[in-house]
């Protein structure tokens, strides 16, 4: 009986577009859904530091090195804001990290692809952050207050991320033949995985029913993906990059781009652990976590002595 009252009261709040705050009563399924989504989001920010981090020591100018460092540092910060938001739901960061290591919690598939050349740093900023921004902008209006507030802060900081990536691509497309090839090659490798970031087609999306009723999700996977494609195609054209999709064309009636089918085989394979970098990313994270244990223990021991 109790839970029925809770959820009808809860749903009426949601229907009025009111935010849900940590101490408000909420259905367990809402809490669980949020924990899964926010922690996955947080882990993505943190794991995403690895492919870009791979190029910090090789960044080709002092300016580029500072931009990249500041960008990756932001991503770490985003991870932190999101862990903070998830912690208000009663899960500890320690537990979230355990779930990441056990495989129970996931992170965005995109970071299971390798950053092979400097152009990949451009492609990641432009396409991967670009895709993430489309999603994050819509999440600023998500129903859970701490998550929405984290998203507002994150969107503000994200604004330079996509630009720095596009700037790298632009410079390379204005550069030597070798640079142009490098840029197009990165485009070819990152385009499709970027489209996969929005998840399966709406028709194959298992969790989205509740997510919409609870206003955790405000726009569908396909809607967001379309939005991303429509704005990115023009940006590619301006700098002379070819989108690696022979079926891509402007649909005059729908006023949007038609595109080819995503390789869902690959999508599933990578999600299930068999992408180029899945093992490497997890090993790195687990190794660093284990390496840091003695430092954290020392800090705790020292703090205890101070009392």
């Amino acid at each position: 009986m109790e839970s029925v009252i809770v959820s009808s009261d809860f749903q009426s709040k949601i229907d009025q577009d009111a935010n849900i705050e940590p101490k408000d009563s909420m259905p367990d399924a809402y809490r669980e859904h949020l924990i899964r989504q926010i922690s996955q989001h947080a882990h993505s920010e943190v794991i995403g530091m690895q492919p870009e981090g791979n190029w910090i020591t090789r960044a080709p100018s002092l300016r580029a090195k500072q931009i990249l460092l500041a960008k990756i540092q932001d991503e770490g910060g985003h991870g932190l804001y999101l862990y903070s938001a998830a912690e208000t739901l009663g899960i500890s960061r320690d537990e979230m990290i355990r779930q990441l290591h056990s495989g129970k919690a996931k992170y965005s598939n995109i970071f299971n692809y390798p950053a092979l050349t400097w152009a990949d740093i451009g492609a990641i900023g432009w396409l991967v952050d670009g895709a993430a921004i489309v999603n994050q902008v819509s999440l600023q209006r998500t129903s859970y207050g701490p998550y929405a507030r984290a998203m507002v802060r994150i969107c503000k900081e994200e604004s330079f991320h996509q630009r720095q990536g596009y700037e790298i691509m632009t410079k390379m497309m204005n550069g030597t033949e070798a640079q142009k090839q490098m840029a197009q090659d990165a485009m070819n490798r990152w385009w499709w995985p970027s489209l996969m970031m929005f998840g399966p087609h709406d028709s194959d999306s298992p969790h989205s029913g509740n997510a919409f009723t609870w206003k955790i999700k405000r726009k569908s996977n396909d809607e967001l993906r379309q939005k991303f494609i429509d704005k990115t195609v023009q940006q590619a054209e301006v700098i002379g990059l070819t989108i690696p999709d022979p079926e891509l064309r402007w649909n005059e009636t729908k006023q949007m781009y038609d595109h080819g089918e995503i390789n869902w085989e690959e999508f599933k394979r990578v999600i299930n652990g068999n992408g180029p970098c899945n093992r490497q990313r997890m090993e790195h994270h687990m190794h660093v976590h284990a390496e840091g244990a003695w430092v954290r223990e020392a800090a705790e021991a020292y703090a205890k002595q101070q009392h």
Partner: protein, 253 residues
């Protein structure tokens, strides 16, 4: 004998290289911090250093006046033309090693930058003033962690003690003066590094005492960077850092 212009150039490159190589090493911590918060702290300090390197090298390029940029200096110079202190180029090691290195460098830079704020060269004084603020924070961070690790657990104390023992022989070089110092000290542009020695070792001694770390013994001090003679580590840093610029000499990034 070097002229004044050459002396200023070398001095600026020394300052710039220290920050560049130190920042490079700190940036290696990205995604490797013992806790996420610390990851952000270490990258912040890396950013401070690379920013400082950019400022000093830019000025060095201006002084040299042959149309090169700060990037040319950072990315196209050979190993023997780098003048950073050896301490900055040593590998990051474990967190204790990095903290010990941070302490030994930031105590030095704190007094160095403070003194350089009074340089007769206004540009140097300006960069030093900005850097001094940053370095004071680095020092606070390093001092707090030295205390935590020194007093934390037996393991952390042992690791930190070993780190200080290993790093100690590189501290003497911080105070080594060379041709350029002699020329620039007379004009009030550079500072007398001998005068920094006592406050430096006093500060280090008191922090180590407070942290249950024994003072390492100085039976030998390794130097060489004033002549561009480095440890074997620098070559590897440069081959990584300079890779794109060297592989694609006519490309702009």
């Amino acid at each position: 004998m070097m002229n004044k212009q050459e002396a200023i150039f070398k001095y600026l490159v020394r300052l710039g290289d220290c920050a560049l190589i130190h920042g490079h090493r700190l940036s290696e911590w990205c995604s490797r911090g013992p806790i996420l918060e610390e990851d952000l702290a270490l990258t912040n300090m890396a950013l401070d250093n690379i920013g400082r390197a950019q400022a000093f090298l830019k000025y060095a390029a201006e002084v040299q006046g042959n149309g090169l940029s700060e990037d040319d200096l950072a990315y196209k110079r050979d190993e023997r033309a780098f003048y950073n202190n050896l301490l900055t180029e040593l590998p990051i090691g474990d967190f204790a090693f990095t903290i010990a290195k941070q302490l030994l460098l930031s105590v030095f830079e704190n007094i160095q930058m403070q003194a350089l704020c009074k340089s007769a060269d206004a540009t140097i004084a300006g960069i030093a003033a900005k850097s001094h603020k940053e370095v004071r924070y680095h020092l606070t961070h390093a001092r707090d962690w030295t205390m935590r690790l020194g007093k934390g657990t037996l393991e952390s104390n042992t690791r930190l003690q070993q780190a200080f023992n290993q790093l100690w022989m590189y501290t003497g070089e911080l105070f080594e003066m060379y041709e350029e110092d002699a020329i620039l000290n007379k004009q009030g542009i550079a500072i007398d590094l001998n005068e920094l020695k006592t406050p430096y070792y006093n500060t280090i001694t008191s922090i180590l005492n407070d942290s249950n770390i024994k003072m390492p013994v100085a039976d030998y001090m390794q130097t060489g960077s004033r002549k561009g003679i480095h440890t074997e580590y620098l070559g590897h840093i440069l081959s990584e850092m300079q890779y794109l610029q060297r592989a694609y000499p006519d490309a702009k990034w």
